[in-house]
């Protein structure tokens, strides 16, 4: 499968995401420059974490106007798979691809730590490799991850099972303490009504290698790959072209296309 990682000015998890998709998951991956008007034939678009435009004004508020976002909207509108991680989630909210908004974390501090999230709905393109109620250990790193939606929207989201991940403790229990940023209904990840656009605050790419302490994030990428393979009808037998990338300690120049 071919993944595209969008590079906005100020993105800083772009290479991390690229690294995991290409070197850990073995998928063909390209960077997509924010000024481009072409998604270069990718099967899936990932909006990575970071501080697009410095997160000035509001997180994700300026990035939504980038030329590439017009293409991403079209792509999403026609059923293309879009994953927004952290800042990517914020951009999806600001761009109206997902409902709701982000407020500052309840303690008004940036938070970088491992958290636990529970899979609420595993019948999505982003969570099918896990089971319902499964608890994942994945880090967060954000200032504005306190999800907000008006009450009627929240009940609609719940009714449609659009809440895919919720913050919980290590045993899968919800609590105010486990909901570190104060999100409404402990929402950590949210999918659109059509089921092809997911935003999540935790960083699965930071939890995809054993040496970094957790591989739970791979469940999300695995699910996406499975979904795309099924959709393309390649089935189980014809495995996707495995990439044998040479992994280097230094990233290739991001933005050199």
């Amino acid at each position: 499968m071919k993944f595209g990682v969008v590079v906005f000015p100020g993105s800083n998890c772009d290479y991390d995401t690229f690294h995991v998709l290409q070197n850990v998951m073995g998928q063909e991956t390209v960077f997509l420059w924010h000024k481009e008007h072409d998604l270069r034939g990718v099967d899936c678009v990932v909006l990575p974490g970071g501080f697009s435009y410095g997160d000035y004004l509001r997180s994700g508020a300026i990035a939504r106007f980038s030329p590439i976002m017009r293409e991403v909207k079209k792509f999403a509108g026609s059923g293309g798979l879009v994953l927004g991680i952290c800042n990517g989630f914020q951009i999806l909210l600001e761009a109206g691809l997902l409902p709701g908004a982000m407020l500052r974390n309840k303690n008004l501090k940036f938070l970088c730590q491992h958290v636990h999230i529970r899979i609420e709905n595993n019948r999505t393109a982003f969570s099918s490799a896990g089971h319902r109620g499964q608890v994942l250990r994945i880090p967060i790193a954000h200032f504005d991850g306190n999800y907000y939606a008006p009450p009627d929207l929240l009940s609609e989201l719940e009714k449609n099972k659009q809440v895919v991940f919720r913050y919980c403790d290590e045993n899968g229990k919800l609590s105010e303490e486990a909901n570190v940023n104060g999100s409404a209904h402990s929402i950590a990840g949210l999918i659109n009504h059509q089921g092809n656009v997911l935003g999540m605050m935790p960083h699965p790419e930071r939890a995809s290698e054993k040496i970094l302490g957790s591989e739970d994030g791979k469940i999300i990428f695995r699910s996406m790959i499975d979904y795309l393979e099924k959709k393309r009808g390649t089935g189980k037998k014809k495995a996707t072209r495995a990439f044998r990338p040479t992994v280097t300690p230094l990233p290739p120049l991001i933005g050199t296309f």
Binding site: L57, G100, L108, A149
Partner: protein, 81 residues
């Protein structure tokens, strides 16, 4: 033309920043402070448009860019023509 746009959280949205400021003021002994709401102010210098045009453009900018209508409201005024 000089314009001021104020953006703040809607009443229905909790404002922990404002509350923290209020608590800090209380700690310092300013108990007269009953409530604080914190928001953003944009002072914008506009050029080459008349008042009527400005009155169209300003709320447009505020609504499209400066405020997120899900959580924020805005107000504006022209400071200097």
């Amino acid at each position: 033309m000089k314009v001021r746009i104020l953006v703040s959280l809607k009443e229905s949205v909790l404002d922990p920043q404002g509350q923290t400021v209020r608590n800090a003021l209380h700690t310092l002994g300013y108990h007269q402070v009953k409530d604080v709401r914190q928001g953003k102010v944009f002072e914008i210098e506009l050029e080459g448009l008349d008042r009527a045009e400005a009155e169209k453009v300003i709320p447009e900018i505020a609504d499209r860019v400066l405020a997120n209508p899900i959580i924020e409201k805005f107000s504006w005024e022209i400071l200097e023509a």
